[in-house]
Amino acid sequence: MHAAAPSDPHVEARDVGLSFGNRVVFQDLDCAFPRGRITVLMGGSGAGKSTLLRMIGGLERPDRGSIRVAGEEITGLRESELFRVRQRIGMLFQGGALLDSLSVAENVGLPLHEHAGLPADAIAAEVQRRLDSVGLPDVGDLLPSQLSGGMVRRIALARAIVRDPEIVLCDEPFSGLDPLNVRRIEALLVRLNQRLGLTLIVASHHVTSAFRMAHHLVFLLQGAAITGTPEELEASGDPRVEQFFAADREAEAEVQAWEGTG
């Protein structure tokens, strides 16, 4: 069962099946990610959020089924053809995945350096512009190991969008961050979507921020997806979704009680 398919899917998974050995991760997964919207991908740990993002980026191949990115079927593509598709996609990895042997500026400029054929000073200017836009104008000369977790996430976001992608995939952009940094990253993502009309696909555990920012939710439950707007899902009364929210509220209450006593 999935809610009315969004009219203009930018990314689409159809009948996707994937197993690692005996572990079936997806079975007939159907879901769509509408163009120019923020879709938050939810589900318990091990539900396959990261794996789905990796499949959309072509890093993982489904055993069967189809994945379309901007109308193009990517499941059969060779790595060199995927390189072309990935120009449209920026990916923010959970740990940032910055190269630790390069400075922050070199990290952000790397895709330009590799592909754009720009002169060095144009790249430097572009990199500075990106660093400004994530609110970290002065860290260009530092190494990633010298940054805090929240800063790494923002730099990684700057790098993910430096090639002006249409689609940005974010794997757990909020995990391990304090509430202030959660807000910061969230604001950056929302601004990307509003100003540039990017399609955002955000895998997240963070129910509160998911409901604040999502236009559209995709729930991964037992290898299949339940999709809809936040309102639709809350109103749907689907017991599995209810259960997820109940568990989250419980955890939240527990944390608050804990913080209260501490």
Binding site: R54, G57, L59, E79, L82, F83, R84, R86, Q87, I89, G90, M91, F93, Q94, G95, A97, L98, L99, D100, L110, P111, E114, H115, R159, R163
Partner: protein
Amino acid sequence: MLAPVRSLGFGGVRLVAELGRMAVFAGSVLRALLRPPPRLGRLVQEIYDTGFLSLAIVGGSGAAVGAVLGLQGYNTLVRFGAEESLGAVVGLSLIRELGPVLTGLLVTGRAGSAMAAEIASMLATQQLDGLRMMSIDPVHLVVAPKALAMFLVMPLLNALFIVTALGGGYAVGVSLLGLDGGTYFTSLESSVDFENDVAGSGIKSLAFGALVGLVATYRGYTATPNAAGVSAATTSTVVVASVSILILDYFITALWDVYP
């Protein structure tokens, strides 16, 4: 009853499959090396990391090994009144065998393990996937320059090892035990044949360089992407590369004498 046979069979199949994967990997590294743009900056950095930082350990070990050879060789030769052949004894065993093999083992421990660990931890922290998402081939940018650096650096370190070892032998034989310096070098010079011994040594160390570079990068690149995988890749690089060096050394020595 059948279990040992079966596990032997599985082991054999796994070994062959692994060798096959390694060959495919070697092919992709070679193709990456031939594909523009050349990664000269990366290569220089890797040569620095594997070569320059191994200078001290290789040079120091060479001097120590040469000193032992000088002492042991002298004590043996003097019994036959043949101590003037010390240069030949030290030189031949060093150039043909000990130089390439010990350099290979030292560099495996010093630089090969670090190479595997670095690639494996880049894998574990998704840096390599990050490159692929930026349409950059990690084999081209990261792996191939490392493997090539190992290949280029090994013969140079081998030469360094041999030179310092000859110096160590000289220090013990001539300075300490009072052999004539001219005799040491004349004996060395007359017994070492350039084409046979020096070229053979160079070819061996190139082969070991290719071997260590390949094993280290392969083990790193195919590691399990977590902390345990990084350490497993490091350990298995040292074990596999060291044993392979010793085995390959036997075959090169044997074949070298068949086809002079």
